[in-house]
Subunit: 344 residues, 4 copies
């Protein structure tokens, strides 16, 4: 029998990506989808790629159908999952939050960055940070998953092998990151109009972005020591894809860095290490759950450059959430997720 | 046991789309892939979305491995399949030509438009025009398929219900068509450089395009009478997608056109008729094998406007080719083809 | 002494294009710019290309500074200019409305299409339709200009030589038109988000678009007889540019159509007729006030195809408005408008 | 009397940008344009934005008309200007090379990076690096200008105030740079096809790019000491624009960095320093000769981030070349260069 899945907040790009992947997933069915604003609308009225493929109708977020589910995904702005997760957990329904509510262990730090009090600090202990390549065994047993942010996913996968092998200086890490515009969501917004974004490129959030404390927390957890991190996000004139170019100082210049990465991920389906001299392109992972990583030592400046690419809606959001679902329910971790990057 | 499939000319966008779909197809395996120019290269060196997913190496087009196949696809420029199809047919290997060599029944007309003599006129009788919604039963029995062009697919699906029900004047059909740039192929070419295409739009081939005789032939075959057709292709600043806006004169203004379309395609998985007042967008079918069609009667000018969208690499090329493969080998016609349009 | 110019509604793409052109105009200065929503903001806060180039501050639309002007442009939604034009006309300040309020001669037709009553029907007689290539002499004497819509400009320039020489059937004209997204304005709107528009193409307004009655009225005025027009707009995944592909039936197949166009526009700086077999691209006129037109007779279907391109913000809006300004104030018609299309 | 200008190698994007700007320049006329491959073609056949605007015909590069010029621009691949500059200098014709031949002072370093011997090492002493904000006075007297590369222009303007005031550690500078695709030129090339570039982003040249030695040389010249530089270029899915995000360590954390930049550029028309908290976007300078710069101190990591944007074809190539021309001929430095960034 298939898993019954609910999606709370299914009107955005993360929502449609969850629906798209689940539609092709052999062991899960979308049982309910909610949106306050779209209540009563057919899914295909909101997402025209679904014409003739689904009869789902948007429900209110308190619809009883959600309580028939085995799992609910929250694809909502921060502040929503926090206040509603217990309703499901108390009924033995597992929860994966694709928003930010359970990503930061410390409620005060969360409140500082998200500008609201955290109402469920007690759940922060239970929530598992859902990066399978880091926390696979705890994810398998979790009831509540904090699905990682898109930038953190790209940066963490790029730095984990180096930090856990003590190969780099932890005090001076620079992550220059670039994201497609789908990361900004589907709400009407002048700043993400086509004519504002096309044929342009810009940094934003340079003095501080909400993914900063999340990246720092997880890097410190891997390294076991404080991390000095500079993180700069930029907006790309394209829909999907994140690239992180990361600059670090090697402790041991004789270490075989490429071998270290290959070894770290040799059993990971979704992380591919590129051959020497080949650099990743975001399109290679578009529409997929894959991450591609490349390393390059720059001799003249003595820096190691690590480059990683993901699809911000795939491995950076919905794909990873379904990878977590697979783990939580004892399914094959790869089920429904083997789509190749769409090229061109 | 899985079908063994060969791809001749696997270096272009049609080739990679065949590979991408077949990679996820439960009943077929790519056994050999060829390219004279790329001989000896790994597939992932040419298409970086394939890193870590395939060990295929490009072979020469005369490699014996091709003769182990059950089916070969030609994804080659016109003139290649014509001269090589018999090699396979003679060994009981079926052939699907994604190029133009077998699309035109009349060798002289073909020669006029393709500027070379047709060397295998005898095969033209045998070749089946591979539009499943038109020729399903003959496709099932065919050894040699002429896979339709991308523009013809979009136009034929939009006009078939009208012509076979004698609802429109056959003498005055205008098809204003727009295609993404992937239709122009992956060869180095100044005209399709990013900077030549982005933020621009243009008509081309206005006085005559090679898809004109193909569309006309098939429309006349459906209608059983001569067709007066004006066909104008345009180039869109995007990768994938074709839209056809077609203008016709209704014979009977009281006919229920929408019902006619719904009826014509009610058993067709891959053709979706949109509700009244909803018009198709190319993105709705991006990466998929679907066609979406909408009809609108324009009262003030007494014209019927039919709009249809496909992915030129999907239903307009590789998707349709695999739909044909499924039919030729008695598989479920939909196998491997139920991917939803990628949005955004 | 320079003309003093005011811009009412200077927060959109038409507004910034007026500012950009006027900034480089030798005989005009922007004296005041208004926006209710942006009151008190600096121009460069709203349009970051203006940093360090202008000290203009947004005023309220009733600021007295407007009454010091020689001319005000309305770059406002329909319904605004109508109710405010007299304030300026009564003070001998000329008015150019880039919106739709004065484009339709018949107040009832206007009301039908724009869904509000017309409050200043008396001004409709006085307003001059500001297409210099059609109405140059009346524009020179006008106090109130209805600046043409973007689609109408592209279509009218493409058909004028044919209609005034009685070369085509007036009853069966099809205009298949495509516009960049800047035509949809700068207001926050889900439908024009980057991720909704990029890599897609769609028709819209097929059953009826507000530019339809405007095009029909002007074509009938040129032809002196009723026109049968089908007009279909489409949205392009790019910022700027309109292309119109127009299908007509020739009355006299022996007419030299190219010569007719060359003759019609031989003294017009801003309309360029392309050589035989060369088709226009929107990028050729991007950022400019030029229109490029090409004609192609299609022998097999006996249709004449006319293709025209403009920049919807240039010749289709702000450029043409400034051309009108030049004419109204006795300046050289070309002043400030000789910018070449930006390529790439 | 106007300057007579020749353009050698006028078939690429730098060539057409020179032509576009010069067409609107009040004191210069393009007298001759050459291209071996396009000999005899009309300019408008190659650049369709020039239809009806110019009668120029491509000449061979040895056409005598070039010797009537006051100045020739080389817009050629490296290796061409080197071997031909003396032909002009010997006739008292000034030369601006937009290629790389004279940018590196040391012929051996040049040869290492450009993979050919330098044939005119003697001219390297005479050539002036044409960055007006650095070398204005020597440019005024120069006969031979090495016009800076696009990346170097963006990086040098961003670092000059810091280095000349000894505000940063010179040993640890990271420049993460992103360029539009026009920087890759107009030659047919698979890697820059529309379908390879759109909706993707990638680093390239990570282990070493030819602009590295140029940036390093000029930074060291400003600083008067060795510089430790890491420079990573990336390719953006857009035509025009470069953004540089630069990470440095402040020596004195109490220095007023913003004031330092404002002071450094207060008399420079073409460098605009943005207010605190406002970050630059490439579109703000598209089609212009402007550079916009922003600085941000990141407290939690103790890094200073400098962001700068230019149009790679404008301030990064043709615009700066014409700024140099103006200086060399005693014209107003700003003449013909005050175009505002095209938005949208």
């Amino acid at each position: 029998m298939k898993l019954k899945v609910g999606i709370i907040g299914g009107s955005g790009y993360t929502g449609i990506e969850l629906l798209r992947i689940l539609h092709q997933h052999p062991s899960a069915d979308v049982h309910a989808i909610t949106s306050r604003a779209l209540k009563g609308k057919k899914l295909y009225e909101v997402f025209p790629n679904m014409h003739g493929m689904s009869d789902l109708t948007y429900l209110l977020p308190d619809d009883a159908k959600l309580f028939d589910c085995d799992l609910v995904f929250f694809a909502t702005p921060h502040g929503v999952a926090m206040n509603n997760a217990s309703l499901f957990l108390d009924r033995n329904i597992k929860v994966i939050d694709l928003g930010a509510d359970f990503r930061i262990n410390d409620a005060d730090i969360w409140s500082d960055w998200y500008k609201m009090g955290h109402t469920q600090a007690s759940l922060l202990n239970e929530a598992v940070y859902g990066q399978p390549e880091i926390n696979r065994s705890t994810i398998k047993k979790a009831r509540l998953i904090a699905n990682p942010g898109c930038y953190p996913t790209a940066v963490l996968l790029a730095l984990k092998p180096l930090l856990e092998n003590n190969l780099i200086e932890p005090s001076n890490i620079i992550a220059d990151c670039k994201s497609g515009t789908s990361g900004a969501g589907r709400n009407a917004n002048q700043a993400t109009l086509f004519c504002e974004v096309t044929e342009s490129f810009k940094p934003y959030g340079v003095s501080g972005h909400r993914h900063f404390p999340e990246i720092k927390q997880e890097l410190e957890s891997i390294a076991g020591c404080p991390i000095g991190l500079t993180f700069t996000p930029h907006l790309l004139p394209m829909s999907r894809g994140i690239e992180a170019t990361i600059y670090v100082d090697l402790i041991d210049h004789k270490a075989n860095i490429l071998a270290c990465f290959e070894n770290a991920y040799k059993n990971e389906e979704f992380v591919k290490i590129l051959p020497e001299g080949v650099y990743p392109e975001t399109r290679s992972v578009k529409s997929s759950n894959y991450c591609q990583i490349s390393v390059q030592y720059v001799e003249h400046s003595n820096k190691l450059v690590i480059m990683s690419v993901i699809d911000n809606l795939g491995k950076g959001a919905a794909g990873q959430a379904i990878q977590n679902m697979n783990l939580m329910f004892g399914l094959d971790e790869k089920e429904g997720l083997l789509e190749i990057g769409l090229l061109p």
